[in-house]
């Protein structure tokens, strides 16, 4: 099929963001080098250009950050809720003001399309702070008893797929409830968290309430194991989540985990096919499929399999892969060479195990980390591509005949984060949604998020909820 249109390049300007050649750790309101002077580079995944050099926190730095958070806790938690709220409202507003700058920054550091950072990540980040700001002086009414108390110092470790949004999910409820935080952003996407530190400065947030320690897994491990941390919140892989659960076993640390998934997107034969195709595309190709709640298993009712696959392939042929800063780009870069290698290996394994691989004609840029949108058909439940979380733009297609079979296949996974249902029949939506063992279910839509809507998994997708009234519990001593 010939390309539909030639598009002229429409890149968003980089001039709106000013990245310094180096950044320190943000501890007690000040940027500082790591105690041992170590640094690491952060690159733009779409070009491999070095964006900046960032301090690499060691145990001593983590200890200093936890100390600063502890020191700040007494005053911050004693502040009237209405005052804490106003700080958070200030932060929400400053994020709105600086949202274009942050969107460009996030796209540079993460590799995701500007269309997503501009239209999804940043609006959700601001909304999340705005939402939890309003809770800070209303906690008595949240259903956790009168005057619920904060836990203390929260150690938070976040992933690289939505760097600033995951920061917002962690920091906003923690601060609203009166905790102080030490946050470790992912090694490959440290920049937006460091810009957030500057937003805290602009908002006049008291020193030590938010501390940002950049580094790799060792800094995260040191933070989680620190004896003076009262609360651990982690978003990332299930394997690391289990390790963290073992680390906090036998302590009094409260733990919430938001981990992996292998979401089923179930299409019944009466579904509006064009709408379903859009939902499938957004389910697995949004953010290059690097989404824990991605709809990575497509379950199609047998009778519409061929029709749906034809439409889906036609649609994938129109996706534009390339410069993430281009406003017309649908598919950006994979976040890192390491992640690209993992996706490549799993896709190769899918092929080796006998599943049928297909990608649209798609030219990949010569530098940077790229992976073409990929479909696997003839997939069985035993195939690795149907079981393992790939965390990339790879969709496995399975079929079913009856609703019971769809439910059984959808639930046949140790994960339980998300699922999608496509059908015109309301009662079928409700009965299938009722039987799916997953924390978030989208019917006739997919990958929708909102600060008021609790998010989190069943089974090995973790425990605890982020967002909504439910999200407060993770940071309260209840």
């Amino acid at each position: 099929m010939a390309p539909v249109f030639e598009y002229a390049p429409a890149p968003e300007s980089r001039a709106v963001v000013d990245i310094a050649p180096s950044y320190g750790l943000f501890i007690d309101g000040e940027f500082a080098e790591a105690a041992d002077g170590k640094v690491f580079k952060t690159v733009s995944p779409s070009t491999e250009e070095v964006l900046s050099e960032v301090a690499e926190a060691g145990e001593a730095d983590v200890d200093r950050a936890v100390g600063a958070a502890r020191k700040a806790f007494e005053k911050w938690s004693a502040l009237p809720g209405a005052e804490r709220a106003k700080y958070l409202f200030r932060i929400a507003r400053i994020i709105q003001e600086r949202s274009r700058e942050l969107a460009v920054l996030e796209t540079l550091d993460n590799g995701k399309p500007i269309r997503e950072t501009r239209d999804a990540d940043l609006p959700l980040v601001a909304a999340h702070f705005f939402y939890y700001a309003g809770w800070a002086d209303k906690l008595d009414h949240a259903g956790y008893g009168a005057n619920p108390r904060p836990l203390g110092v929260a150690g938070q470790v976040i992933p690289w797929n939505f760097p600033l949004l995951m920061l917002a999910w962690k920091i906003a409820p923690a601060l609203a409830t009166g905790n102080t935080v030490v946050l470790k952003p992912a090694e490959t996407t440290p920049l937006s968290a460091l810009f957030f530190a500057d937003i805290c400065r602009q908002a006049g947030l008291p020193k030590g309430v938010v501390n940002i320690v950049t580094g790799d897994g060792r800094a995260g491990a040191a933070l989680i194991a620190h004896p003076d941390v009262n609360k651990v919140a982690f978003t990332g892989s299930t394997a690391v989540g289990k390790e963290i659960a073992r680390t906090v076993a036998g302590t009094r640390k409260k733990l919430t985990l938001e981990l992996g998934g292998k979401g089923a997107n179930i299409v019944f034969d009466d579904a509006p096919i064009d709408q379903a195709v859009e939902g499938i595309v957004s389910g697995i190709f949004f953010n290059q499929g690097q989404v824990c709640c991605a709809g990575s298993r497509l379950l199609v009712q047998e009778s519409v399999h061929d029709e749906l696959l034809d439409s889906l392939k036609r649609r994938l042929g129109t996706l534009r892969l390339g410069d993430p800063l281009d406003k017309n780009t649908d598919i950006g870069a994979i976040n890192s060479a390491e992640q690209l290698a993992r996706i490549t290996a799993l896709a190769d394994q899918g092929e080796a195990e006998g599943a049928e691989r297909w990608s649209p004609a798609c030219e990949l840029p010569s530098s940077g980390y790229w992976f073409a949108p990929t479909l696997f058909t003839n997939v069985t439940q035993a195939h690795t591509v149907a079981r393992d979380e790939i965390f990339g733009p790879v969709l496995s297609v399975l079929t079913f005949r009856t609703p019971d079979e769809a439910v059984a296949k959808a639930n046949n996974t140790p994960y339980g984060l998300s699922a999608g249902i496509w059908t015109e029949k309301g009662s079928r939506i409700l009965s299938v949604a009722n039987k799916l063992r997953a924390g978030v279910i989208w019917s006739n839509t997919f990958n929708k998020f909102d600060p008021t809507s609790p998010f989190g998994g069943y089974k090995e997708s973790g425990f605890g909820r982020e967002g909504g009234r439910h999200g407060l519990e993770a940071y309260l001593d209840v």
Binding site: K242, A245, A249, G250, G439, V440, T445, D450, T452, H470
Partner: protein, 297 residues
């Protein structure tokens, strides 16, 4: 006239609605507070624990799918059945815990009332913990609590009956099924509870009761891949840490031993023992729109 010789009861496990002996054929001696022999209780094995998990899993679909009203009626029925056998439990609790008859009676009465309390919760907890979320878009967004699944419950070691009921009732009220490890030293009231549950319309397998060495039975439960959660109420500090570590392997929900354990089971419980074993499911539905031309009323 010589005194009539009483008939002893053979205490058995309660698994899948039946009363088996331990598959291991082992028993251990249970004595009262003064060391006097009371009974030989089954000394459950790892295999008994695994069998109990299978029974609990099998019962989960039906019990979690029952209406909340129906679950409430059955929990209330448990209270009714206990009331009728009140004297038996008073004697067993007095024997087990070395309490006076009046103190034991207070424990049993509170335990019966606790079933009534939780019976009333079954059709209210979803209204308290769930609800609609006002998302910024054309979607109807609803969060509802659902039971976690199969819950391993280590009953408190000291409070053999009130403590036991206080940890079991909240788990099943919301639709979970349970594998309960009775107090190691005082297992008899727990084993007798099985007899009441069996005659209260509670489907077999919803509650399974094992007696024996807590550490021996709890280890395979904490490591079991088909157990979704564990309540460590009856575990000491060291055992609790070991079990929590093992539980991480499939990310079980863990309720750590609470500082109040053994202290005051008579206080009105909060909702925490229910919410600890609930998942929140959030479903998004598009609402469509009738457009601005629709009626204002």
């Amino acid at each position: 006239m010589s005194e009539r010789l009483s008939v002893f009861k053979t205490y058995k496990l309660y698994v899948g609605g039946k009363f088996p002996r331990s598959e291991s054929g082992r028993v251990y001696e249970v004595t009262d507070a003064k060391g006097k022999w009371l009974a030989n209780a089954p000394l459950s094995s790892r295999k008994d624990a695994r069998d109990a998990v299978v029974a609990a899993r099998k019962a989960f679909g039906g019990w979690s799918g029952a209406t909340a009203y129906n679950r409430g009626q059955i929990l209330y029925r448990v209270a009714e059945m206990l009331e009728g056998r009140r004297e038996q439990y008073v004697a067993e609790v007095a024997g087990a815990e070395g309490l006076s008859k009046s103190k034991a009676a207070a424990q049993v009465d509170a335990a019966i009332d606790r079933w009534v309390w939780y019976a009333g919760w079954t059709d209210k907890i979803a209204q308290v913990t769930g609800g609609g979320n006002p998302v910024a878009g054309p979607y109807f967004n609803l969060s509802s609590p659902e039971p976690t699944g199969v819950v391993a419950v280590l009953a408190p070691q000291d409070s053999s009956f009130l403590g036991l009921v206080s940890v079991v009732a909240p788990v099943i009220a919301t639709g979970n099924t349970a594998v309960v490890v009775a107090s190691e030293r005082h297992p008899l009231p727990a084993l007798s509870l099985g007899e009441v549950l069996a005659t209260s319309d509670l489907p077999g397998g919803v509650v399974n009761i094992l007696s024996g060495r807590t550490a021996e039975i709890a280890a395979p439960l904490a490591a079991h891949q088909d157990v979704n959660a564990i309540d460590l109420a009856g575990a000491g500090e060291e055992l609790a840490k070991e079990l929590e570590t093992a539980a991480a392997d499939n990310l079980k929900r863990v309720l750590r031993p609470q500082p109040v354990d053994g202290a005051d089971w008579s206080a009105t419980p909060g909702t925490e023992r229910m919410t600890a074993f609930l998942e929140t499911k959030t479903v998004w539905h598009p609402t469509g729109a009738l457009g601005a031309s629709g009626s204002s009323y």
